[in-house]
């Protein structure tokens, strides 16, 4: 089996909030997703990915801002990792 990975960045920490960013990594080797290869997200919300069979395996923690850095902005905060398992396209015999 091979892993398809979908990363969704959401507008809030709620899984059913809007997708604002996304990445794909293809463990089967059939496709080569890369930076800037699409303008439309694959799903409108994180929940829509669940409806389509993606399994959530990691969500970013809710961390309070560090004292003195409450107004700093950096990485996108609400990151969710999903997977689908697919047959290996080149199984060893």
């Amino acid at each position: 089996m091979r892993q398809q990975v979908l990363v969704l960045y959401l507008a809030t920490s709620a899984l059913d909030s809007q997708v604002v960013g996304w990445s794909r990594y293809d463990g089967t080797g059939r496709t080569r997703p890369t930076t800037g290869d699409g303008d439309e997200p694959p799903y409108l919300t994180g929940l829509a990915a669940l409806h389509d069979g993606w399994r959530l395996f990691q969500a970013s923690q809710l961390l309070p801002p560090q004292s003195g850095h409450e107004y700093d902005v950096s990485f996108l905060k609400h990151e969710f990792f999903f997977e689908k398992l697919e047959e290996d396209p080149h199984p060893r015999t």
Binding site: V7, Y9, L10, A11, T12, S17, V19, V20, G21, W22, S23, R24, R32, P33, T34, T35, G36, D37, G38, D39, P41, Y71, D72, V73, S74, F75, L76, K77, H78
Partner: protein
């Protein structure tokens, strides 16, 4: 008040900023220089870049492509821009174009120095884009910034993989390719442009050279400039109080998280205050509200 004669300016007061004072600036007079307006600079502060489409004439574009294919001479860090490039070079001619010179001066002031320059080439069918990144190392200066001039001497089509950039990303504190995991963001810009386009970007902008899916080499010339003067009111400030300035600074982008979008505006206000010397400027009370700490009035003793 000290006055310094500056070419093409009627008068330029040595800024209060230089002497640690606030609020004593003299407005620059509109001149023949192609300085940016306040609205344009506010747009740069909000978006992190400024596009100048097709501003370079065709003959200079042709010279540039030939020179970029041959490679460029090394320029030492910190070389004054005025001394870095011979008068017979395309770079000198590019920086002498009034629209380019005016935009550069509006952002980093007169007399910037060259940080570095480079030729970026994406070969035909170069199959993988760069990871999303900001250049150099994390750089969180609150009241100064470098600009990077990106020059495209030929047309860039969608299939040629023009530079991907993320509007409004420049104030996010990340270090180089640490953001590389992220492939796409709503509202990202995949540059397509006519020949002779110049884009000036804030040093912190997230960007990536995209995959080139054509048979043609894609060229881009990049020049990073460091300011040598305080970046305070360097542009044409005649429209400083135009409501469009506030509107630009309040711009939200589709990739912002709901809550962080408000912090972005807060941080832009702080940068705008630094660039204008106006410590009271605000957008929708965001900074004023969270810095309001009234002190108890001193009681006079009763006689």
């Amino acid at each position: 008040m000290d006055l310094t004669k500056v070419e093409n300016y009627q008068q330029w007061a040595n800024s209060a900023h230089d002497r640690g004072l606030r609020g004593a600036y003299v407005r620059r007079m509109r001149t023949s220089k192609h300085l940016l307006t306040s609205v344009e600079v506010a747009r740069f502060v909000a978006q992190g870049y400024l596009r100048l489409d097709g501003v370079v004439p065709p003959e200079l574009n042709e010279r540039a492509v030939a020179a970029l294919d041959e490679g460029l001479p090394h320029v030492a860090y910190g070389t004054p821009l005025s001394a870095a490039f011979g008068q017979d070079t395309f770079v000198h001619a590019l920086l002498a174009l009034p629209v380019v010179a005016g935009a550069v001066e509006s952002l980093v002031g007169p007399g910037p120095t060259v940080d570095h320059h480079a030729v970026h080439v994406r070969e035909p069918h170069e199959g993988h884009a760069q990871d999303l990144h900001a250049d150099a190392i994390i750089d969180v200066r609150p009241d100064a910034f470098d600009i990077q001039l990106m020059y495209y001497p030929h047309e860039v089509t969608a299939a040629m993989g023009g530079t991907l950039s993320v509007p409004g990303s420049h104030l996010r504190r990340i270090n180089e390719t640490d953001i590389g995991r992220v492939q796409n963001l709503r509202g990202q810009t995949r540059l397509t442009c006519p020949a002779g386009t110049v884009v000036l970007v804030h040093h912190g902008i997230w960007h990536s050279g995209r995959r080139n899916d054509t048979e043609r080499r894609r060229h881009m010339y990049k020049l990073r400039l460091n300011p040598t003067v305080p970046q305070v009111r360097l542009w044409d400030t005649a429209d400083l109080h135009d409501p469009a300035v506030t509107a630009e600074l309040a711009t939200a982008f589709p990739w912002y998280e709901q809550a962080t979008a408000r912090l972005e505006i807060h941080n832009r206000v702080l940068l705008w205050r630094a660039l204008t010397g106006d410590d009271l400027f605000d957008v929708d009370h965001w900074v004023t509200r969270v810095t309001n700490r009234p002190t108890r009035p001193t009681r006079r003793s009763h006689v």
